[in-house]
Symmetry: C2
Subunit: 395 residues, 2 copies
C-alpha cells in the first residue's frame, strides 16, 4: 500500500473523479446531479465542473426534464445528467461456431447497430477477415468516436495479448486473434475475451446478477462457457484462464470423451451434444431444432433429460461447494433446458452440496437473453475505457 | 468509489500509515528505516515519527546493529526497525480430531509458547472448555498484550459470527463456537476459521506460496481441508463457506459415500481413510502408523496408492481448470503421499487439465509443516489487528 497524499484539484484526482462519475452514468443511466454529488462524496461545485467538462467532451448532456420524479423541495430541481450513446461508442463481436455477431454499443450500454454474418470458414484468418470487414462497416457509419473492439470467443484466452490458446469447437489452438485483428484494423484497440467471462460480466453489470458480488455464470452451447465473479471481481487466475467449469471432471474417469481430450468433463453431459443425444436428435441438429424440441409439451422431454439433469445438478453442487455463490445463472441452451428439469436438478444439487452454502444460492435464468455475451464483450472495452475516459478520448 | 480528499497529517491517514508500516515489519521482519521509507512512499521525517510512535506503544524497537549488510554510503546508516514479539501477541488454536493445539504468537510471527492437549470428548462444550482452559494458561504468562484468539476448525465456518455450520469429522453441526469461547474468555476477541483457509493463509504469507497471488492449498487429513487465494485475497464466497474442494464430485455419482452425505467427493478418494484402505491398514490406524507405512521403501507402496494417485491428479486437473493457479500446495498427509506417486499424479493432472493453465502451475509441498494451520489461525487474528493496531492496542 502506498499512502500518497493528493489534493482535490490535482490532475490525477480530477481524472479519477471524471472516470468515476462517468462510470456511474454508464452503468446506472441518467440521474440528477444531486445524486451524483451524493454518490461521489464531492462538493456540488466540483461535480458541476466535472459534468461541464464531460459535456464539452460530448459524452454527457444535462437537462432539467425527463428525470425520475422527486418530492417537492426548496430551490431549483437539480439538472438531470445523462450519458450520450451517440457521443462515444465501442464495438463488440462474438464468434460462434457458425456465425459472428457484431454490435456498435454506445455509452450507457445502448446497442445502436447489430449485425450477424454466417461463418462458413472457421479458420482463424478467415474469421479475422470477416470480423474486420463487418466491424469496419459499423465504424464507417458510427455517429461518434469509437474507442475499441471487444471480441468474445468460445475458448481459453490469454489476458495480456488476446491470444486464443484453445477453442476446441472452432479447432483453434494458439491463435493470435488479437494480433490478426489489430493488423486488419489499425488504430483500433482490440481486446479478446472468453465468452463465458463476457456473459458473466454483462449479467453482473446490467442483468439478473446486478449488484451481486458472488455469481457463477454457466452458458451451455456446444461447449460450456462460464464466468465467475468473486467479491465483485471477475475470476481470472494466473494467466486469465480460470473459470473453465465446462472441464470440471464431474462424471468420473469412465465418463464420455471430451473435445479437450479428457474424460467425464461437465460439458460432455450438459452441452449441446449431450442434450441432442438425450432428445434423440442428430448431434448436428441446429440450435433452433433443439430449442423447439425442448419446448415440446408433455412429460417425455423431462424424462429424456434425466441424465442431463442429474449431471447438471451434480456439477452445480460442486460449484456451490467451491464458490459459495449467491447466484448461479444458467444461460445459452441451459436456459431452455432448466425449466423442464428444475426439480431433478435441484434434488441433485441439494444431494451434493454442503448445507451452509446451499442455503445461500439461487439458480436463475439470465435477463439479457442471447445478447449477454455480446454486451459483455462491449463492457470489457468500456471497463478499460472508463478507467480513464479523458485519456481514451484524447488518444 | 468515494473520492475523499485527505491530508498527510490527518488522523485517518496517520492511523492508516501506522498500520501499513507495522504490517510490513510483521510480515517481512526487521528492516532499515530507509527501506520502510521507500516502501511506504512517505518522507523520512514522517516515517521517523511513525516509528517513534510505534516504539512508544512498545510494538517496535530501533537499533543500529544487526541489520543486513549495506554497501558503504554517505552519512549515518539508517537505523534498523524490528517488530517486538514480546510487546504484543495473539493466541492461536487448532481443533483436530483427537487433540487441540494452541500457541502464543508474537508480532512478527514468532511462536513464543506451544501446547498440545488430547481431546477425549469431541462435544462442543467439552472442546470449548479445553480450549479456554489451555488458552487461559498462555494468557496468564504472556509477556505482552494479547489481542485476540484465532481458532482453526476442520469444518465449514460462517465468517460473521464464527459459527461452525458443519464439521463432519467432529460430528458438529451448527455449533456456535465463537459464542461458546467468548463466554468462557470475556474480553478476548475470538475468530473462528476453517483449517484449510488457515493453512493457505500461512503458506501465502510466510511459506512456500509467499508473494504468489494465485494459490490453492489442499490439506489431506481425515477430511480434506482447502483454502484458495485469488489475486492475493482469500476466497470467501457469500457466507465465507467457499473453497470446500474436498467435496468436489470428482469420482462420479457411483463413487464412495462421503461423511457429508454425498457420493464421490474428492475426500473419499484422497483423505486419510482412502490412504489407509489403499495401504491395507485399518481405517482407525493412527496418523503416525500411516506416515510410517508411506515411508516404507520399495515399489509396493506406489502400486497400492495408484487409485489414490489417479483421483488426486484428476481433482487437481479440475482445480487447475477452475482456478488457473500458479501454485498448488499439498499438505497434511498428502505431503507424505505425493512424493511416492508424483509421476502418476502428474500424468492424471495433465490428462485432465487444459494445456494453457496446466503450463503455469507447479505442485509443491508446504514449507511450514504441521504448523501451517496454527500459524494461519494466528495470522487470521493479526490481519484484523493490523488493520488498525493503534485502535486494537487502545481497546
Amino acid at each position: 500500500m502506498n499512502a500518497r497524499e493528493t489534493l482535490a484539484g490535482s490532475p490525477d484526482v480530477r481524472r479519477t473523479n471524471l472516470a468515476v462519475l462517468l462510470r456511474h452514468l454508464h452503468l446506472d443511466g441518467p440521474m440528477r446531479r444531486a445524486e451524483l454529488t451524493e454518490r461521489l462524496g464531492l462538493t456540488r461545485s466540483t461535480v458541476a465542473g466535472l459534468v461541464g467538462e464531460l459535456g464539452r467532451l460530448g459524452v454527457v448532456e444535462q437537462s432539467t426534464t425527463g428525470a425520475p420524479a422527486v418530492p417537492a423541495s426548496r430551490g431549483r430541481p437539480s439538472p438531470v445528467v445523462r450519458p450520450c450513446p451517440l457521443g462515444v461508442q465501442v464495438l463488440a463481436a462474438e464468434v460462434r461456431i457458425d456465425q459472428v455477431e457484431v454490435a456498435l454499443v454506445g455509452l450507457g450500454g445502448t446497442v445502436l447497430r447489430r449485425d450477424s454474418r454466417p461463418l462458413p470458414d472457421r479458420g482463424p484468418e478467415a474469421a479475422a477477415d470477416l470480423l474486420a470487414e463487418t466491424v469496419a462497416e459499423l465504424v464507417a457509419t458510427a455517429p461518434g468516436r469509437v474507442l475499441g473492439l471487444g471480441v468474445a470467443v468460445p475458448g481459453v484466452t490469454r489476458h495480456d495479448d488476446g491470444a486464443v490458446r484453445f477453442a476446441p469447437n472452432l479447432s483453434w489452438r494458439d491463435v493470435a486473434l488479437g494480433e490478426l485483428l489489430a493488423s486488419r484494423l489499425p488504430g483500433t484497440r482490440v481486446q479478446v475475451v472468453n465468452d463465458g467471462d463476457a456473459g458473466a460480466l454483462a449479467e453482473h453489470l446490467r442483468g439478473v446478477a446486478r449488484g451481486c458480488a458472488d455469481v457463477v455464470f454457466v452458458e451451455g452451447e456446444v461447449g460450456v462457457g462460464s464466468g465467475v465473479i468473486i467479491d465483485g471481481r471477475p475470476l481470472a487466475g494466473a494467466g486469465g484462464y480460470a473459470g473453465e467449469l465446462g472441464h470440471m471432471a464431474v462424471a468420473g474417469p469412465a465418463g464420455r470423451l471430451c473435445r479437450c481430450g479428457s474424460h467425464g468433463c461437465w460439458e460432455t453431459e450438459i452441452g449441446r451434444h449431450a442434450v441432442a443425444r438425450a432428445l434423440g436428435l442428430d448431434l448436428g441438429a441446429s440450435r433452433a431444432a433443439l430449442v423447439e424440441a425442448l419446448h415440446a409439451p408433455g412429460p417425455e422431454v423431462t424424462a429424456r433429460l434425466d441424465r442431463v439433469a442429474r449431471h447438471l445438478g451434480a456439477g452445480l453442487a460442486t460449484v456451490v461447494n467451491v464458490f459459495n455463490p449467491r447466484l448461479i445463472v444458467l444461460g445459452g441452451l441451459l436456459r431452455e433446458v432448466y425449466p423442464r428439469v428444475s426439480t431433478r436438478v435441484q434434488r441433485a444439487l441439494l444431494d451434493g452440496a454442503l448445507a451452509a452454502p446451499a442455503e445461500q444460492v439461487r439458480v436463475v435464468l439470465p435477463e439479457l437473453g442471447d445478447d449477454a455475451v455480446l454486451l459483455g464483450a462491449a463492457e470489457t472495452v468500456w471497463q478499460r475505457v472508463l478507467l480513464d475516459p479523458v485519456g481514451a478520448l484524447a488518444s
